[in-house]
């Protein structure tokens, strides 16, 4: 009954600790890397974005809108798809999606919505004074730049300092990916577009893409 089996127990404390630390390190690495830079650099992410963008663009009725608004419509669609690809974990993505919904509702005379919305997003945290940003005393230049940055990144106007920085850290790689994806899409379209214009107009079913 009490015979201890001779199960080999090759687990000295050192390997346990190393395994544990490795696991922790891997978890931390995963969490960190998946959060911003590497997430937006992955090819898979870009492909997801490209296909979604293309679908969205197909839905945008470009023939109906006049020329000056066309580019804006494309930009808005691209931003929207970018925010959707971000899966709503960051403020800027939520702000873009909320903004669009606001704009649609706004046009349908829901004026009160606009007032209600900021109340929801206003956090109760006290704002971190920007004096602490550089460790030195009052630097109005830094403060100004920070406010400017907050205006550039969507959804960050009233957020405290570290939030603005975190959002920017995620927003920049996302924008870079957006640029890459749109440039690739443009390349693709213009390449096959040129080939199709050579063939007869109208019936473009049998136009093979240039490989």
């Amino acid at each position: 009954m009490a015979s201890t089996s001779v199960v080999s127990n090759p687990a000295p404390t050192s390997t346990d600790r190393s395994r544990d630390s490795k696991r922790k390190k891997k978890k931390k690495l995963q969490k960190e890397y998946l959060q911003s830079h590497f997430k937006w650099k992955s090819q898979a992410q870009q492909q997801i974005y490209s296909s979604k963008l293309h679908q969205a663009l197909a839905r945008v009725n470009l023939a109906s809108t006049s020329v000056p608004r066309r580019g804006k419509a494309v930009r808005e669609a691209a931003d929207r798809v970018l925010a959707a690809t971000a899966k709503g974990k960051t403020r800027w993505s939520r702000a873009i999606l909320a903004n669009r919904r606001l704009k649609l509702k706004f046009s349908k005379q829901h004026k009160r919505q606009r007032v209600a919305q900021p109340a929801l997003t206003r956090s109760k945290k006290p704002r971190v004074s920007v004096l602490r940003l550089k460790g030195k005393k009052n630097l109005p230049a830094v403060q100004r730049k920070l406010r400017f940055l907050a205006r550039l990144v969507p959804g960050c106007r009233k957020e405290p300092v570290p939030v603005i920085l975190e959002e920017a850290i995620d927003y920049i790689p996302a924008l870079e990916m957006q640029v890459r994806a749109m440039a690739a899409l443009l390349n693709l379209l213009s390449g096959s577009g040129a080939a199709a214009s050579d063939s007869s107009s109208g019936a473009g079913t049998s136009s093979a893409p240039p490989s």
Binding site: S50, G71, L133, K134, L165, I169, I172, L175, M182, L186
Partner: protein
């Protein structure tokens, strides 16, 4: 650390200088300009400035690409669009 923050409103905000410095350095790594130069001696004002400039230039690029995309898309027909979609999904 708590002595330095005597002037600040304490409470739920546990944001330390180190955390902010860490964030700024992470931001610095993303910027193409500053990455190539000496990384230690860049002030946070410069990092913020470069960040603003970079984001603005990225916005401009996206706007420009949108314009060109919109022009192109307005001229291609739907059969081609289906073709391209297949290409993309591969």
């Amino acid at each position: 650390m708590s002595s330095r923050r005597s002037r600040q409103t304490s409470g739920s905000s546990n944001i330390s200088d180190d955390q902010i410095k860490d964030l700024v350095s992470k931001l610095q790594q993303l910027l193409p300009e500053i990455r190539h130069t000496r990384t230690d001696k860049v002030s946070s004002a410069k990092v913020l400035q470069e960040t603003c400039n970079y984001i603005r230039s990225l916005h401009r690029e996206v706007d420009d690409l949108s314009e060109r995309l919109s022009e192109l898309l307005a001229t291609t027909d739907t059969a081609q669009a289906a073709l391209i979609r297949n290409l993309l999904l591969q």
